[in-house]
Symmetry: C3
Subunit: 269 residues, 3 copies
């Protein structure tokens, strides 16, 4: 993808043109931000989690995202059913194993979902290290839902996880890495203020769903989502006075992102 600077814009344009319907089973903290981020980017978000309807709803969806941030027992089976239905329909589906190392419940659920053929798995260094190591519980690399390791330290685990699951694996951090188990793409966009807005990683997972819905090269689509959000973060930081004004400007920046800015600002290698 080196020198492929036009890529992120192609993906964002397609997203705006086609308005993909992204079905999200995400956590309660992320729902508002994720839906607004998707709307700002040009997608059509829906939050649907009931066992009675997740499969029916997917019939009209263009992508599925699953996030275990505020997991409870009643959500596990609907998540698994939705994942299987997405695979059956050939839809991209993205897994976000939030805090996978923090408790056995998360570990077991995330391991199970990771083996239902996700198209993409996105996590911070700690999450990918834990999930890629095949372990159900933590490794002293997690602080609640935050990572205590750099993304680069999880590269081997990301590679193994991609091989084991067939998924594209994205490790996010100061530098983001995306791998299919062979190629590795690094995305250098972003800003430290992004760690001060809750659920921004979760919303990013939803944006990956939207990008994969319009770009069948999921490795590329995932990297594009990272560049788009990261660049919007850089633009927002230039005008923000703290994390809340940063959040407002970030969403506005995604909405206003144009070809020249994205061509100039995306840092994908």
């Amino acid at each position: 993808m080196t020198n492929e600077t036009a890529g992120p814009w192609r993906t964002l344009s397609a997203l705006r043109d086609r308005v993909p319907l992204v079905h999200n089973m995400t956590n309660f903290v992320a729902m508002d931000l994720a839906a607004n981020l998707l709307l700002a980017a040009g997608a059509s978000p829906a939050m649907v989690h009931a066992a009675e309807e997740v499969e029916d709803f997917l019939d009209q969806a263009d992508a599925l995202t699953i996030n275990i941030g505020t997991l409870s027992a009643g959500w596990v089976e609907p998540m698994a059913s939705a994942a299987r239905k997405a695979v059956e329909l050939g839809l991209p589906w993205i897994l976000d194993p939030v805090g996978v190392g923090a408790t056995p419940f998360r570990g077991e659920t995330a391991q199970r979902l990771a083996h239902l053929q996700p198209s993409v798995i996105r996590g911070n260094g700690s999450e990918i290290l834990c999930l890629g190591g095949g372990q159900a519980s933590g490794e002293a690399t997690t602080h609640g839902v935050d990572s205590t390791v750099e993304s680069a330290e999880a590269l081997d685990a990301a590679h193994d996880l991609a091989k084991a699951t067939g998924a594209i694996v994205a490790v996010t951090g100061a530098i983001d890495y995306v791998t299919d188990g062979e190629r590795i793409v690094a995305v250098a966009n972003g800003h430290p203020m992004m760690t001060r807005v809750t659920a921004l990683g979760c919303a990013l997972t939803c944006l990956m769903g939207a990008c994969c819905a319009v770009n069948e090269d999921y490795l590329e689509a995932t990297a594009h989502a990272l560049a788009i959000l990261g660049l919007a973060g850089e633009l927002a930081a230039a005008e923000a006075t703290g994390p809340a004004s940063f959040r407002v400007r970030l969403i506005d920046a995604i909405y206003n992102l144009d070809e020249a800015t994205l061509l100039d600002g995306a840092r994908i290698q």
Copy 2:
């Protein structure tokens, strides 16, 4: 209601004076925005959904709103109980059949609730078309929770739905229509940016609850809520740089709305 330009202000003033307690059973995406919108308008919001307390809570409430946006099986009976209790107490209750056409589960639940004597039913074109047609599942007029038809195309269905349920029916879109099955009122306020903020329609439903709590003419109260929110949207759009700053300004605009601005700006016919 032609030439009745003072109406919306009378309703908003009464709302601010009487601070109605609006009991909302709404979706997880809408809770934050809806509560903040109600507070900004002058009402007192509460989000209460447990079977153990919905009926008790209604004893002190002034209105009830029910929204099926993130429906799950455990919420259906409490919603029905709350609706029946509201009717028993003579409280206005507003139904928002989000995404009713998207799955049979939503269709069946919305049909059931629609026949528990709601005071007002609010939906986009697709939702009213589906619910008014008496069908439990979609019609190729829905894209997730978004409508693919204009509000005017759902006018016949709105009329039928009002006749069948006894409710005031509001179809929202670029032009909003409100009917009791005989009279039709059109409200021309609003701005396209309103479609880029998640759950704004859901929050509008809650505002209708607040307006109906202080104005017993529910057709009028519903039209007033539409004019108030739509005008706030117009004011916000003039200053916003994207959907997130628009949302901030919209809530501030409702809080600051004064008599002269509302008299001048409301477009109810």
Copy 3:
């Protein structure tokens, strides 16, 4: 604590240095604001509520907060288990009995939790009056989840509640009072606009958890949380044009709060 003007800054500095992991079982309306407020203050928030993992998660947490704002039956036992585990681990845990007077379900749950050795109980005048009076249901002092009494009117009840439970009790209002059943501290920071932002009291409860995690004198830590949030509210109000811009500026203000401003602005007596 008179003349102890350096205290709030010492607590806020410790919070920023130590980044305590605050485990919150809070309501759906508050989750977004509470997590963002904690991140802005310097803490690490997590929202975890499932029976399957609340106790495991506490093993790495530094504080627990429990809030019954959108209570449902399935959350009660996990709340009680978490409270017991926090006590066992010696972690501070904070109870927010939202709307305790509004229904018997809330009253019974809050009474039960209040007797599981919370470190701090925070409520508005109505809530403390109801809980301190030992009654399971309301007293005509509550309007939904809002108080209809001044905080000072609940001082006797706060005193009794502190004696009966062993908790520090904070009654919030125009003036906030904190008592351990013997000493009483008053905090005079804050701004009326704070009552126009939903769940700000709930988020304050979470901030108390973060402060207690880094300051073992819970009476002091609680007063410091009140001064920090109240002062941020004053700073935000000076620049806001309504409740939504106020909310944005409040979070930014907490993030930017420096020693001189806090020393000068905290009003703890």
